[in-house]
């Protein structure tokens, strides 16, 4: 905003073409609050309008160009100055000149690649946003609009169970089993703990979900561990031959998909930590990595629906209306 009351200033805002129909997703901001943003997937087109509204109607606004950018970038909190842009697209909306009345400009970024999921973490942030700018000599007028990107996967072909025998010689032997090694975010961890040898006095057992965010490379690698969940699975002392079942519903926790070496800048990995606590508060634990992935809940649209959308380009045609009706019937039927 300009402090000078003379001269012209303007407000700029960005509106998506599909703002009415596009889904929004909740995403944590850096200060922990949850906000809703438009949700996009890889390959989707980002299109809309940039509205430049003059503050003092009648006065003209001189500028050195108006543009809109689509940016995907990684910010490391300890190195705020350097943003690592992995997607950077720009569309020029107006050549340098002047505008005498409020204007609207259309833009379209077609089939934009969005290779990574949006992430706000303890030490790193990956975000996508549109940035509209009116370039001026002294100070630009700019507006950013954040969007959220989710990366989807399908059921993995190979998803072996995790089964292992661990222990302390002559004191404690257990065999733990988890039904899968890859879980989607709304999945259930089904497993069991089988006691082979119990020579210590166990008081209870719990399973924790630990999120490890790794930033930096080489000698300056930093791990930030966060216990997302603690779930007691046993209260009391087990004996040899006993099996304790595990059933842990993931939907109740704040989880993201596993992210490995994103743009060589950071990773987010998840571990199941099995913890046994004895009568003297001593803790015995075994950590095991699991892979989390995001399952798409987008319905596979029927062919006729897609055809209906295509025919909508020919506005008001009777064919498109009836095709849409037919598709709607098929969806609900």
């Amino acid at each position: 905003m300009s402090f000078f009351s003379f001269g012209q200033s303007a407000e700029i805002d960005v509106v998506l073409n599909d703002a009415e129909t596009r889904k929004k997703a909740e995403h944590k901001t850096e200060d922990g609050k949850k906000d809703k943003y438009f949700l996009f997937y890889d390959g989707e087109t980002v299109s809309g309008k940039v509205n430049v509204t003059l503050k003092n109607p009648g006065k003209r606004l001189e500028h050195h160009g108006i543009k809109i950018e689509f940016v995907g970038q990684i910010e490391l909190y300890y190195d705020r100055g350097n943003h690592h842009e992995f997607v950077s697209l720009v569309k020029d909306l107006a050549r340098p000149g002047e505008i005498t009345q409020s204007q609207t400009y259309d833009f379209e970024f077609t089939h934009v690649e969005k290779p990574y999921e949006s992430y706000t973490g303890q030490n790193v942030k990956l975000r996508y946003f549109l940035r509209a700018t009116v370039i001026r000599r002294l100070n630009d007028i700019t507006k950013e609009m954040d969007i959220v990107v989710h990366t989807l996967s399908t059921y993995p072909e190979l998803n072996s169970s995790i089964k292992m025998e661990v222990g302390i010689e002559d004191c404690l032997h257990i065999e733990f089993e988890y039904n899968k090694s890859k879980y989607h975010l709304k999945d259930v961890i089904v497993g069991k703990i089988y006691f082979l040898l119990v020579r210590i006095k166990i008081k209870h057992m719990e399973i924790d979900i630990i999120k490890r965010e790794t930033t930096g490379t080489g000698p300056s690698v930093y791990h930030e561990n966060d216990t997302i969940a603690k779930y007691e699975i046993m209260d009391g002392a087990p004996v040899r031959g006993e099996s304790i079942p595990i059933r842990l519903f993931l939907a109740g926790y704040d989880l993201t998909p596993t992210m490995r070496d994103i743009n060589k800048k950071f990773s987010v990995r998840y571990y199941l930590n099995l913890v046994l606590i004895d009568e003297e508060e001593r803790r015995y634990f075994k950590q095991q990595e699991i892979t989390l992935w995001r399952k798409g809940d987008v319905v596979r649209k029927s062919m006729s629906h897609q055809a209906a959308i295509a025919s909508q380009r020919f506005e008001g045609s009777a064919a498109s209306e009836s095709a849409l009706e037919q598709a709607a019937k098929e969806e609900s039927g």
Binding site: E177, K192, I200, K201, R240, G241, E242, E279, R282, D297
Partner: protein, 162 residues
């Protein structure tokens, strides 16, 4: 559109052997510190405590043992464990040097309530330590708990399954 309901049925488990289910547990270990007795006369008096152990853990040579120990023996054990093992050794009840000063109104370190407090602390200490899987590998612990006399000139070593 219905999401596939996740299969949350329990994994297959082997049925438990009834002897394992209803038999004595393999982690039986009980240590009692009791019967304080003051021995000696005058300034050379000291108090000993009975340390009684009952267990079915194979790491202990004797399934039942009973020895008498004094406070300085406990101090010796604590120092040995700190040096020889990686265990974070819990603290002992206080040394109470102030109780050994003259002109006290009570019996000093031979005061009944003080001895009882100390007895409880020593019992807690031993139960914490003896149940520790790493401490159980130390020769000094076994000597303290089950040998007649504590030989402070012993050679520290690790104990394997008896």
């Amino acid at each position: 559109m219905a999401d596939a309901i996740a299969d949350t049925r329990r994994l297959y488990t082997k049925p438990q052997n009834l002897n394992d289910a209803y038999g004595p547990p393999s982690n039986f270990l009980e240590i009692d510190v009791s019967n304080p007795e003051t021995v000696g006369v005058g300034r050379t008096r000291y108090t000993t405590y009975e340390v009684r152990l009952k267990t079915n853990l194979p790491i202990f040579k004797l399934k039942e043992s009973c020895v008498r120990r004094r406070y300085s023996d406990f101090e010796w054990l604590r120092a040995e464990l700190e040096r020889e093992s990686k265990v974070v050794v819990p603290p002992l009840p206080g040394k109470a040097l102030f109780r050994q000063l003259p002109f006290r109104g009570d019996d000093g370190i031979f005061d009944d309530s003080f001895i009882e407090e100390r007895r409880q602390g020593l019992e807690q200490f031993l139960n914490k330590v003896a149940g520790h899987p790493l401490a159980q590998n130390e020769r000094c612990l076994h000597m303290f708990l089950q040998d007649e006399i504590v030989d402070k000139n012993y050679t520290p070593s690790k104990v394997r399954q008896a």
